[in-house]
């Protein structure tokens, strides 16, 4: 599916291919030496082709007020062609064709591309706006390799606990409301419909059952994984709906078919905008979330246009428009001066961001660095998810 939102499922990682690469190359990924980063920009090449999630490159075709391509084309002379993709998997295989100069990649896809050498290191000095980007987004495991930056952060967001204020007199502070076995809200709880949601259960267990020794909700050995699955099976009896699209989720909260469950800030905002009695919190346990990165192809013939595009997307005004359109936090404080809803998205709140576990692909090699254990990989997560739903 090619939706800006369902893609979150894609985020999760679909791809078995990553496992290979990760496992095959070892933790260091030392074999992945792409070309060296550019040292200075040349003349714009006249064209740039971009691979991105739907909603990331809007030229006004869909909604005239959302256009951050035309201005770029006029200013730089780089004509933009766009291809959208539906899953991280698709992105990875499309990047291998070498047809694209720039890609907007999510956590799992970006890692695979870096390790496989499909994208090149980025000289952040050539991206003036990079300096303004939140530090907590820079040099993360999904956008850098051995301390070398491979891209420019785009936007991020969290999976929140959303609830109906008419049902909850007091705001819930813990995810426990969706995990309790004998929930008073049985049949009106909603959960995100993707195998990656298992990480939400793992995160809850990480905080509430320290005996299990979970240190990263994406690195679960057999026992830990079984505990998470067990928790989800208990929850299954209370779930009224597994949601995966924005509209359905918003609808069931307005009609009262759902009263509590995992959601996104953008959905909460829309519901509040319509006067629905809905609030969302980041519970004490923290949460899962996502973070995306703009990257440049290793084989690009238009490096200057590519860098100009990265700068364009990091530019506070463009970044504000693009992330605002999609419904996520922007990458810099400066962008917030062009958006009025930054506070709602907790943009720039490092403490808030620190509580987020960004989606990434679970692999057999434990992501938390354990070498004495074998972790459950993504195919196992998928299989388990189907069994949980029954």
């Amino acid at each position: 599916m090619r939706n800006p939102m369902t893609r979150r499922a894609g985020f999760a990682g679909l791809a078995v291919a990553s496992i290979v690469i990760l496992a095959g190359c070892g933790t260091g990924g030392s074999t992945a030496e792409g070309p060296a980063a550019l040292t200075e920009l040349g003349d714009p090449e006249g064209a740039v082709s971009i691979l991105a999630w739907p909603g990331y490159v809007e030229d006004g075709t869909n909604y005239p007020e959302y256009d951050w391509v035309s201005g770029f084309e006029e200013a730089t002379g780089c004509m933009v062609t766009t291809k959208t993709y539906g899953t991280s998997d698709e992105a990875v295989s499309l990047m291998k064709t070498g047809d694209y100069d720039v890609v907007a990649a999510s956590g799992d896809a970006s890692l695979r591309m870096m390790v496989a050498g499909d994208v090149q290191p980025v000289n952040t000095d050539l991206v003036p706006s990079y300096a303004g980007i939140y530090d907590f987004l820079k040099n993360q495991s999904h956008n850098s390799l051995d301390g070398v930056a491979y891209g420019v952060p785009h936007g991020y967001g969290a999976n929140l606990l959303q609830y109906n204020t008419e049902v909850f007199a007091e705001a819930p502070t813990s995810w426990s409301v969706v995990w309790e076995a004998n929930s008073p809200y049985a049949g009106k709880i909603t959960s995100y419909d993707s195998p990656i949601y298992i990480a939400d259960a793992a995160l809850y267990l990480m905080k509430t059952q320290p005996d299990l020794g979970i240190t990263n909700p994406y690195a679960l050995d057999e026992t830990q994984f079984a505990a998470a699955v067990e928790l989800l099976k208990v929850q299954r009896t209370n779930v009224g709906e597994y949601w995966s699209d924005y509209l359905a989720q918003a609808q069931s909260f307005t009609t009262g078919d759902s009263v509590v469950g995992t959601s996104w800030q953008v959905i909460t905002n829309v519901l509040q905008g319509e006067g629905a009695p809905i609030e969302a919190v980041l519970p004490v346990e923290g949460s899962t979330g996502w973070s995306d990165t703009w990257m440049i192809s290793a084989t690009t013939e238009a490096p200057t246009c590519a860098y100009l595009w990265l700068e364009h997307m990091a530019d506070p005004e463009t970044n504000a428009m693009a992330t605002g359109y999609f419904g996520e936090a922007p990458s810099s404080d400066a962008a917030c001066s062009f958006r009025e809803d930054c506070e709602a998205f907790h943009a720039g709140d490092a403490a808030y961001a620190a509580q987020l576990w960004y989606w990434t692909t679970p692999t057999a090699e434990c992501l938390d660095g354990r070498t004495d254990a074998v972790c459950m990989d993504y195919p196992a997560w998928t299989q388990a998810w189907q069994e949980i739903k029954g």
Binding site: N3, A250, V270, A276
Partner: protein, 264 residues
């Protein structure tokens, strides 16, 4: 048929109820297209014509509609050619494996869309190493559209028989002349009806399309699906749906007229 008064009233009432069942959801769509709720919440909190204005100037919607029209037209043309040829072959000849061919035509529509979809996706991508796009969608759609044309034309051929054609060739007309002047007029409305159904089938197909469209081509159903996931624009989709129903009246009406005229 002569019916007792009670049976007649009963039939009128059930028919009215069935129509209500069919049109209540359509009414919901119409109301949603004027709703102030961006998430199509029910009941609509207010009335606005904002979406109609936005939808009618929405470049994405317009280009998706034209994509769908092109795909539906192309696959209908292919289906017309293949379906007509097949129905002639099956009606005029008896040959070994005839019933298998008959089953073969029905298969693409009888098998669940998801099976057809992944089978074609797998064939295009891994077997033929093709890029998914216009060509693959049209091929896929034509495959399951053949059956609608086949059934209409085959049924018509059975009804009209071959006596007129025999007369024509006895009078010295060649195969082409006979086809043009005798056979074609006889099956014309069946072609139209089959073509219309095939067009509608292709126009609204989403499951097979999802698997054969890749990400380059956006048909209307895919545009709609995408928009259901875009913040704030869901009512535009309702407008598009209402417009499509209104536009569809014309071809359906023509098909109806053609068929009834033929039957007289």
């Amino acid at each position: 048929m002569r019916l007792s008064m009670t049976s007649k009233i009963g039939l009128w009432v059930t028919t009215a109820l069935t129509l209500a069942f069919i049109y209540v959801p359509i009414l919901v769509v119409v109301l949603n297209s004027f709703s102030t709720s961006r998430t199509l919440s029910w009941p609509p909190p207010g009335f606005t014509t904002e979406w109609w204005g936005k939808a009618l100037t929405n470049a994405g919607a317009l280009s998706a509609i034209s994509t769908s029209l092109i795909v539906a037209a192309a696959s209908t043309v292919i289906a017309l050619l293949l379906g007509t040829a097949l129905s002639f072959a099956l009606h005029r000849f008896s040959f070994f494996g005839k019933s298998t061919v008959n089953l073969l035509v029905v298969l693409p529509i009888a098998l669940p869309g998801i099976v057809t979809g992944i089978a074609l996706n797998n064939a295009f991508r891994t077997m033929l190493d093709m890029q998914l796009g216009w060509f693959t969608i049209i091929v896929a759609h034509a495959t399951f559209c053949v059956v609608t044309v086949f059934n209409n034309v085959f049924a018509r051929l059975r009804r009209v028989g071959t006596s007129l054609e025999e007369a024509s060739s006895d009078l010295g007309a060649g195969i082409w002349t006979t086809f043009r002047l005798v056979t074609f007029p006889q099956i014309r409305s069946a072609l139209f009806a089959g073509g219309l159904l095939s067009f509608a089938l292709s126009f609204d197909e989403i499951i097979v399309t999802t698997f054969t469209a890749g990400s380059g081509v956006q048909t209307l159903p895919i545009f709609i699906l995408d928009n259901m996931f875009r913040p704030n624009q869901a009512p535009i989709v309702a407008v598009v749906a209402v417009v499509m129903i209104l536009i569809a009246i014309v071809p359906i009406y023509i098909a109806q007229r053609l068929t009834t005229t033929d039957n007289r």
